[in-house]
Structure formats: C-alpha cells, structure tokens
C-alpha cells in the first residue's frame, strides 16, 4: 500500500490525463455490451451512456457519465456534464432494467450537471429530482461506483443505490472545491484549502455513511494499470451483484431507503 494521499493530491490525480473513463472499463469488466441511445423525449445526451451487457454471464444494465479522453471526445460528451435528457435517458434505461429484472451498475464521473440556458429550459432540477426519487424505489438492485469526480446533484442523480463504492482516489462532493471556495469565501484561489476541509475522499465517504466500499487503485493511480483497476472493479461487482440479487427485493428497498434516511447530524 502507498502512503495515503491528501484530498488535494487525489484531486490532481483524478484530473491526470489518461485517467481511465467508463468507456475504458466497459470492455474489460463486461461482455456483449450493447449501447442504447436517447431519452425518447428530446435527444441523446453523449455525456451519459447506457446499455446492456453481461457481468459473469448475468445480463446487467450499465449507465455511466462519459469523460472524454481527448479534446474532441470531450467536446462531444460536454466534459461529462449532462443535460436533462441525459438523466432522462438514464431513467428510461433503469426502468427497463427493472422490467427485465436486470441489476443496474452506475458509473459516476462528472464535475456536475451542466449549467446552461438550455439545461434550465428543459428542467434540470426536475430531471435530477425525478431520478433520485425513482431510483429510490426501483425494484432491482443498484450498485454505483464513483470513478473520478462525483460532483453535486449531477452525480447523485446516478447515486441512489444499494451500495456505493469509491475508487481509491475518487472524490464525491456537494460542489467542486473551487466552487465551494468561491461561494463561501468569495475566493476561488483557496481551492486547495477547500478540498482539505470539505471531506471529499473515499475514506470520508465511508466514515460519513455515504459509501460502503473503496476499490483499491494500482500504484500511482488508475491510469498506471488499466487491466489491474478493471480487474478490481470486476471483482467488486462480481461479489456484490449476486449478493444483492439474492436478497428479498422488499428488504433491499427498505435498506436502500434507510441508507440515505440516516445520513445527517442533528440534536433534539
């Protein structure tokens, strides 16, 4: 094991060029992957992909936020910042998974939902809210994994699940440290200080009850050994998916609700 990195060091690491994306992992973790497109309402958002594949032979639905591997890819997928139609595509495919009794695997990797005029016009708030509420009662197991950045409500829209895993260097936060510093201190340059204070690391997520598992990255980070990190992801899913599928579905839904219900700290 390496020495633990600070939140800031990990933040740099997840922004390293060559950090694997959902498109790198899919062929190494799943077989027979078929991608599906569109929300059937407006269009097809390239910032979120969805499809069907097999995990150890079992059909599963796969949904994930797409980061580009170069500028052209990033232009196409809008730097993994989805529009409402991306979340509505995710919900369509999730409901389909429920219909065909397929478990769902969500890969979270976004700086946040896109902030723009069209996104507001098409109801970003409603799209995220709807996903959060509907995922809470989908009658099929859901596992989510944060690959790199889990930014805000745009991440949570794929993050209501039975179990959440973090890649070792991934972060999950209410807002980017930069945005946080801007809002609270009116000073974007205090980004590093914000990252250390906000509690955004994998270990923080486990101790706050947000995540249940941490998937170890190869020495130096995920980009150093794609095969190894894919193997670790697959190993985790191969353990968890059958475990969740064996559970009574009503029991599973109760546990899912409780997982989120108990997060918070207050005095009475």
């Amino acid at each position: 094991m390496e020495e633990k990195r600070s939140a800031w060091e990990r933040l740099q690491l997840v922004h390293t060029k060559g950090r694997p994306t959902v498109r790198d992992y899919i062929p190494l973790v799943f077989s027979d992957f078929y991608e599906m497109h569109g929300d059937r309402l407006y269009g097809d958002d390239k910032a979120i992909l969805g499809g069907i594949g097999r995990l150890d032979g079992r059909p599963v639905t796969i949904i994930g936020q797409v980061k580009g591997r170069d500028l052209n890819e990033n232009k196409a997928c809008n730097f993994a910042m989805p529009h409402p139609e991306g979340y509505r595509k995710a919900l369509r495919l999730a409901r389909q998974a429920e219909k065909f009794h397929r478990p769902i695997v969500c890969f979270i990797d976004t700086p946040g939902a896109f902030c723009g005029v069209a996104a507001e016009e098409r109801g970003m708030g409603e799209a995220i809210a709807k996903n959060i509420a509907e995922f809470m009662t989908l009658r099929t197991p859901i596992i989510s994994i944060v690959l790199g950045e889990g930014g805000s409500g745009g991440a949570l829209a794929l993050g209501v699940c039975d179990e959440l895993a973090m890649l070792e260097n991934a972060q999950y936060s209410v807002l980017s440290p930069r945005g946080f510093a801007t809002i609270l201190w009116k000073d974007a340059s205090r980004e590093q200080e914000a990252s250390e204070i906000m509690r955004i690391t994998a270990e923080d997520m486990v101790s706050l009850g947000v995540a249940e598992a941490i998937i170890e990255e190869p020495l130096g980070g995920a980009h150093n050994d794609l095969d190894k990190i894919s193997e670790n992801i697959k190993e985790y899913l191969s353990l968890k998916i059958p475990e969740k599928c064996q559970k009574d579905i009503d029991e599973l839904l109760k546990e899912r609700y409780t997982k989120f219900r108990k997060i918070g700290e207050f005095i009475e």
Binding site: G125, I132, S173
Partner: protein
C-alpha cells in the same frame, strides 16, 4: 419553538394607525422592483405585496403560516431540532447560534400540521432568512419526517419552498439530504398522498433538484426565481448576460415545469379548492 404571531399583520397595521400627530409621516415601503414608494402599512396589509407592481416580498415562516392556515390550527413538529456539525466545519456551530438568536427559528424550515379552510394538512415552510434557506441535516430530517407522518396518517402535504440550495457547511451530508427528502416524497406519492409544492422566492439548487420539483401540483408565486443553476454561474459559463425574465416563475411556467402561478392573496383559497378536489374535505365533527 417558533414564535407565532397570528395577528402579525394586524399588529403592524395598528402600530401605523395609532397616535398619529399632525406632522406624522407614515413609514414608506420602497419597492425593489418598481422603485416606487407606498405606505408601509399598505404593503404589510397586502401581506408584503407591492400595491403598484404586484411584487411579492419574502415572508418569514411565521408570517406565511399566519396568512395561509386557519387561525390557531398550526401544531409544530420537531420545534427544538438543531443542526450538528457533521464535517466539523469551522465556525458553523457559532454561526448558527447567532442566527437562532437573531431569528425566531432553529433552522431553515418549519413543519407541522394545520388546517386550511377546514382541511387538515401537513405543512412545511422554508425561511430564507436562515442561511438562505439552505438544506442541511435539519431541513432534510424535518422534511423527511413530515412526509413520513403524512404517509402514516393519510394526509396531504403542502410545502412552501425557498432556498439557495445545499448547506455548504455540511458538505456531502447536505447533498445526501436531497436523497433523503426525495425518498420520503416518493413513498408518500406511492401511498396515494397528494403533495402540493408552492415555490416561493427563491427556489434554487438542491431544493429544486429534489422535493420542490416532485409535487403532484406545482404552484409558484408571481415572478419568483426558480432554477437549478445560479444565474451568475450560467452567465460565467456562457459568457453573456441572461435576459431579465430568465428563471422567473413565468419562464418556468412557459417551459412546463410549473402548473400555475398564484398570487398571494388567492393562495389560501386555491390550496383549499385543490385539497377538496382530491377529497381532503373538512372533517365532520
């Protein structure tokens, strides 16, 4: 415990109309929208609506209760609940202590049961004076409990939303309140309960992206701000100024995310009609 003054507006009126001397100049209200002056007493009498341009000013939770529910019917839930400091954010606890002293509330939402023209409801009112109505552990917990109580007791929920979004000082815990509240709304809905969301100024961020947008019926007060991303954030992203009407209630109505825009003076009667249309009638005694 919230200090309720059911006669809030009555008290204000009396104060302005008594002891008038010859050279007495009544206090004036300057409207932030149309910039015109009108007597403060008139503005208060209209429940903080500008008599000239229909600008709807913000109300505190106590004032909203006073103008919305049947007199004396409000019974508060979880009055003493206070926030912890889940990520040990510096000065968060102290900041809240000060706010609790300077306002009449313990956090940004007040919940309870009340009657609206005889129909019993679970009601929640967000108060933007408390850290911009941001959602942290207390807001999340109180709203979840309110919906759970409504589900267990077969009651409808009326929720007045007003929020700048997530409570930054609670970090990821604040984000998770979106899941907690939306989950409770979903169970209430699956159980057949009616939920009316009333969006007031401003309804933005994580509250828009959770329970505020999940109403069976979504009402907004005129010209209030409704949106997910903040106006300045969008302007910075697209590098241009946004039109004045962007993210106003009327804009969201036009785009199909708000069912109706209702003026404050008609709100109580519209809510009552909608409740009765869903069978939540006056209880036979």
């Amino acid at each position: 415990m919230i200090r309720l003054f059911e006669d809030f507006f009555g008290v204000v009126k009396k104060r302005f109309n008594s002891g008038i001397e010859d050279d007495y100049k009544p206090p004036m209200f300057k409207c932030p929208r149309c910039q015109s002056l009108s007597p403060l007493s008139k503005y208060e009498e209209l429940h903080r609506v500008c008599p000239l341009c229909n600008y709807h000013g913000r109300l505190s939770a106590a004032e909203r209760i006073a103008v919305t529910v049947d007199k004396g019917s409000f019974k508060e839930f979880d009055a003493d609940m206070k926030s912890g400091n889940p990520i040990d954010f510096p000065d968060y606890t102290e900041k809240q202590e000060k706010l609790r002293e300077s306002t009449d509330i313990n956090d940004a939402v007040v919940t309870g049961t009340a009657m609206i023209k005889g129909s019993e409801v679970v009601i929640g009112i967000m108060d933007s004076r408390y850290m911009m109505g941001s959602m942290g552990s207390v807001v999340g917990e109180k709203i979840a409990r309110a919906f759970e109580y409504a589900t267990e007791n077969g009651l409808p929920v009326v929720m007045f939303t007003a929020s700048g979004g997530a409570r930054m000082q609670e970090g990821i815990v604040s984000l998770m309140q979106m899941a907690k509240t939306s989950g409770a709304v979903k169970l209430h809905s699956d159980n057949g309960g009616l939920y009316i969301a009333v969006m007031t100024d401003p309804t933005t961020g994580g509250v828009t992206a959770s329970f505020a947008s999940l109403g069976d019926i979504i009402i907004a007060e005129p010209k209030v701000i409704i949106g997910f991303a903040g106006r300045r954030v969008i302007e910075n992203t697209i590098k241009q100024r946004l039109p004045e009407d962007f993210q106003l209630a009327e804009f969201m109505h036009e785009k199909g995310f708000v069912d109706m825009i209702v003026e404050r003076r008609k709100m109580r009667s519209v809510l009552s009609h909608l409740l009765k249309l869903h069978g939540y009638d006056k209880k036979e005694v």
